[in-house]
């Protein structure tokens, strides 16, 4: 079976879910994969979640929009409510346990990883990097590509104005990966 992964990344607006979606897709492209990234519109916009869908595949990608994904990054409670039931059986569910009660995780049907992303990011000195922590954990859990591929793509998705934050973001990615090793 050739490499294939699709993922819905969801959280509050401002948590940086679009940024890590972009980063994941860009890194996939640099790894030679076919990729799509789409911020999801429509009824998805309501209900307190911002979300995007990323598809990574060796084969040509058909649909960039996925109803039942093989993986999730869940940054807040409303996102868990909305997307967990859609995750495929045995799928990978990265849950930001800083904001989501892990008792709500469906540990029987899918593979849940509790990642206290906000706490880990706090320790690194910046809560706003919780998204990178979660993505680091996601890369480690899915093994879709080496973490280096993501780290090396940071300067392509972070605007020049924030380029001084790239080393910290790299640290956050590593801390996320280390958390579930």
């Amino acid at each position: 079976m050739s490499r294939y992964l699709d993922s819905i990344i969801a959280g509050f607006g401002g948590q940086g879910v679009m940024l890590i979606g972009n980063l994941l897709a860009y890194a996939g492209m640099q790894e030679g994969l076919n990729v799509t990234y789409i911020p999801v519109y429509g009824p998805e916009m309501r209900g307190g979640t911002a979300n995007c869908t990323v598809v990574l595949a060796e084969e040509e990608i058909g649909s960039p929009i996925i109803r039942r994904p093989t993986s999730l990054i869940i940054m807040n409670r409303p996102s868990l409510d909305k997307f967990q039931t859609r995750l495929q059986d045995g799928g990978i569910n990265i849950i930001n346990s800083s904001l989501v009660d892990m008792e709500l995780a469906d540990t029987k049907r899918v593979n849940c990883y509790a990642v206290p992303a906000n706490e880990i990011a706090d320790k690194l000195g910046n809560t706003r990097m919780a998204n990178m922590v979660a993505l680091g954990a996601f890369i480690e859990a899915t093994k879709i590509m080496p973490l280096d591929a993501v780290v090396n793509s940071l300067d392509n998705v972070i605007s020049a104005h924030y380029s001084h934050l790239i080393p910290k973001n790299a640290e956050a990615l590593q801390a996320g990966a280390d958390h579930i090793k």
Binding site: T36, I38, Y41, G62, S63, P64
Partner: protein, 354 residues
């Protein structure tokens, strides 16, 4: 031309980059979601290319500026989304009537009226049946990937000048907003201006020229319409479609643009389950690729058309195969977001002839 470097861009940016690669040198626009990345990109990049970017006072103005630039033989483009494209229709009719080349991009959103800002295919009729008043046709190209958005925008300029006709690139909010890698390339031997024998570039030292769509002299308008008809007939040679797994298929799914690629995922999945299904994806909506579709019909295949509207392209599918077959239809209502899962059940139903 180099085909190695991939860049990661939205479909809107792919269209913009394709236009600049095709030496588009005038862009006229007015903001509307979900195509705003096109004027945004053009506002910074067009001046660097030595061209003109104008944010017009309205869509109507932008379309008439397009008419003016085209009449001068300049490679020019406008872009908008459904409600904005409706406003451009008067000028598009005038451009068709006076045979002015131009490229119009429509990133189709939900309608009717203001609808929403999500994807839809409700503008198929408007795009392929003229859209404005009078009897005319646009060439309509329907990209389904970022790469096709780039390639077809380049092609659009070539076709506009080849046929002296407005060309539409018809995408949707999915294509416009989705990011995907594309490999940019630069076509060779393009001048930024064309139409040496008809363009309005100053009559100093030559016979004066007149470009118009008003024909009052006896027989003149009939002659013009006959000429246009001959041109539309000639366009049929560039009809194009993607055929995927159709060879041994019992059922062929017909879908275009973003819906074409979403349907492809469903077709692939059902193939893996041993179902004999294939995909027919028109890349040109006008001219509609009738011949390859009729060939499939004559081989005894059945058809299901899926669209992100209430049933528009299905008319063209039925017209193409009318002597031998018919097509089922399945709609995704504008306002809903389609996924491959939505198509599996209707495909299986049609496959079983239910």
């Amino acid at each position: 031309m180099s085909k190695t470097v991939r860049i990661f861009v939205k479909g809107n940016e792919a269209v913009s980059r394709g236009a600049l690669a095709a030496k588009c040198r005038c862009f006229f626009g007015y903001p509307i979601t979900p195509q705003n990345e096109i004027p945004e990109f053009m506002s910074s990049e067009m001046p660097k290319a030595g061209g003109e970017f104008v944010q017009a006072e309205s869509e109507v103005a932008a379309a008439n500026m397009l008419l003016g630039a085209g009449a001068c033989g300049v490679r020019a483009m406008t872009s908008s989304s459904s409600p904005g494209v409706s406003l451009k229709q008067e000028a598009i009719s005038y451009m068709a009537g006076s045979e002015i080349p131009a490229v119009i991009v429509n990133m189709n959103r939900g309608g009717p009226g203001l609808g929403d800002i999500g994807p839809a295919q409700g503008d198929y009729y408007q795009s392929t049946r003229g859209g404005g008043h009078g009897d005319y046709r646009l060439l309509v190209l329907a990209p389904s990937t970022g790469q096709e958005a780039y390639d077809m925008t380049i092609q659009a300029f070539d076709l506009a000048f080849k046929y002296r006709n407005p060309v539409m690139v018809l995408g949707d909010a999915i294509l416009g907003q989705m990011k995907e890698p594309i490999t940019p390339w630069i076509p060779e031997n393009i001048e930024s201006e064309g139409g040496e024998d008809w363009r309005l570039d100053g009559a100093n030292g030559r016979e004066k020229r007149l470009i118009k769509s008003l024909f009052l002299e006896e027989g003149a308008l009939a002659g013009q319409n006959q000429k246009l008809q001959a041109k539309y007939d000639a366009m049929k040679e560039m009809a194009d479609a993607e055929l995927f797994d159709t060879e041994d298929a019992e059922l062929v799914v017909c879908a275009y643009g973003s819906i074409g690629r979403i349907a492809k995922s469903a077709v692939r999945k059902l193939r893996k389950e041993g179902k004999k299904v294939g995909l027919f994806r028109p890349k040109t909506l006008y001219p509609f690729p009738e011949k390859p579709l009729l060939k499939l019909a004559k081989e005894g295949k059945r058809f299901l058309t899926v669209e992100h509207n209430l049933g528009q392209m299905v008319d063209d599918v039925r017209l193409a195969i009318r002597t031998v077959a018919d097509s089922d239809f399945f709609p995704i209502y504008p306002g809903n977001l389609p996924t491959p899962d939505d198509f599996e059940e209707p495909i299986l139903k049609s496959l079983e002839g239910k």
